[in-house]
Symmetry: C2
Subunit: 296 residues, 2 copies
């Protein structure tokens, strides 16, 4: 299957799964549930679910277990976007081409919708399975997602990002911030795909980890590049918003060509890691190529 | 042990446990970790941990398992207070006599600190135990806390509360909101104490549920009464703030005497439920008395 079809398929599946797991809009409190659905179902790239499925299917993991992991990781991502967009944070009005949650609803509802999407992510991973997944494995998956989301992962990365604005900083600091802010959840997606399977090969686990860490950073560098090279319509958010907000970016530190070179290096490192896995990792390698070639 | 000593002991234990589980202030991102510790360690009544311990100790539950549950439920409570106090929500400057998180730090840090405290609660409950607790039981405990915290529990109750302000409403609606906003987490505290033990007696489970539901509502009614009868210094927050914010309260609907009568009825119902449990439930009954007799 060409990579574009795989991604399209993942987007459809993820949406169907989210529709199933999100609380019904008619259920009280309706406004909160509307806001949760509005933000989580806003059509995103679904990169994290794609990584869960691509990893898990390579390792013949059970579909139900992968579906749960994909939903949970996307719910964490959706919650983080709602809170990042708040006036006290990045103050963004537009997300994926439509009004952000606090613009469409109101600030209080946006705070609570983010909060409840986070809770739902852990509820999805802790609910009983039809599939035969050991309780031990289920707990390992929960731990992985907790660790990637908290103050030493995604949440901590966002805090560092907030206070880095306008301050002189170096490449090591910028990379370490992004490894937490974006990288931790991207790595968790791959890790969840691995944990969902019966594979216990530590060489595979280590190579997958190297793959996802390089991929996560390449993804962020490409985001920074797109903010300069793309346009508002393609991005679904204002082009040049990083520069306008005085955000420290990879192109600002390395130059545009330097940033592109670094992204290419990281993707090569990700592909090298995959080559050491004796399985058909085509989807994961296609994915790495996609990360640097995408237009939004 | 007199009830006041029991509560004092719980407060000391809870603080020691929170200090252990919260991330170190020196660890990056330091400002976020400072905010998390500032809010979670702000000396509260620790009512939810007290209910976990009182229930669990009655049922001879393992101490480590109870300690984890107590920490987790208090972290969820602490996160909810930070977000409730935000300018877009209740806009409170004072909590337990000291500046709220967004006043002491800033709004963005307060949002992120609340988010990370929620994640930490689930991390605490999903981490491996030294004690012999089955993975199955551990998952049950996680599910209970998720369900109590999310959009059909505490988070949903807060959403209903936000949009109830200034609107005509009836007793049933008010009670149902508080059963979610405060009641769900109070019930979860008792439930976690039960799940931490080896007890599988469904009669006991049902009576404990009745006890905690009545207690949770009585607790909220007493809060409303204190907002009228107490003073700012004793409360640690401005006296009369409910009335000033046009919040619907039990005294507003039932009159002050009617509200007191309802609280007393509920405590009696809670005590009745305990009488049907063939164990020494003294701490839980003392607790119910304390709820209606407290001064802040």
């Amino acid at each position: 299957m060409p990579h574009s079809l795989f991604l399209k398929d993942i987007q459809t599946r993820t949406n169907e799964l989210l529709i199933k797991w999100l609380p019904n809009e008619q259920q009280t409190p309706t406004r909160l549930h509307q806001a949760m659905r509005y933000s989580a179902l806003n059509p995103g790239k679904r990169i994290r679910p794609a990584l869960v499925f691509a990893t898990g299917e390579m390792l013949s993991a059970n579909t139900e277990v992968l579906e749960r992991a994909a939903v949970a990781v996307e719910l964490i991502h959706a919650y983080s976007l709602i809170h990042d967009d708040l006036p006290c944070m990045d103050d963004d009005d537009l997300r994926r081409g439509i009004p952000t949650c606090h613009i469409k609803f109101d600030e209080a509802t946006a705070v609570l919708a983010g909060d409840a999407l986070q809770t739902l992510a852990f509820e999805v991973l802790s609910a009983p399975y039809v599939a035969e997944l050991s309780d031990y494995k289920q707990l390992q998956m929960l731990r992985s997602l907790c660790h990637a989301s908290g103050s030493l992962g995604m949440g901590g990365g966002q805090a560092i990002d907030l206070f880095m604005t306008n301050k002189a900083s170096d490449l090591a600091t910028l990379e370490s911030m992004h490894r937490m802010k974006t990288g931790a959840l991207i790595s968790a997606s791959v890790k969840l795909g691995f944990l969902a399977s019966d594979c216990e090969d530590q060489v595979i686990a280590t190579q997958l980890d190297m793959y996802s860490q390089s991929l996560g950073l390449a993804f962020q560098i490409k985001d920074d590049i797109l903010d300069i090279e793309s346009d508002t319509e393609t991005l679904g958010k204002p082009q040049g918003s990083d520069i306008n907000k005085n955000k420290l970016t990879f192109p600002a530190l390395l130059g545009l060509d330097g940033a592109k070179k670094r992204a290419t290096e990281l993707v090569e490192r990700a592909l090298d890691a995959l080559e050491r896995i004796p399985l058909n990792s085509e989807k994961l390698s296609d994915f790495a190529q996609f990360i640097v070639n995408r237009h939004h």
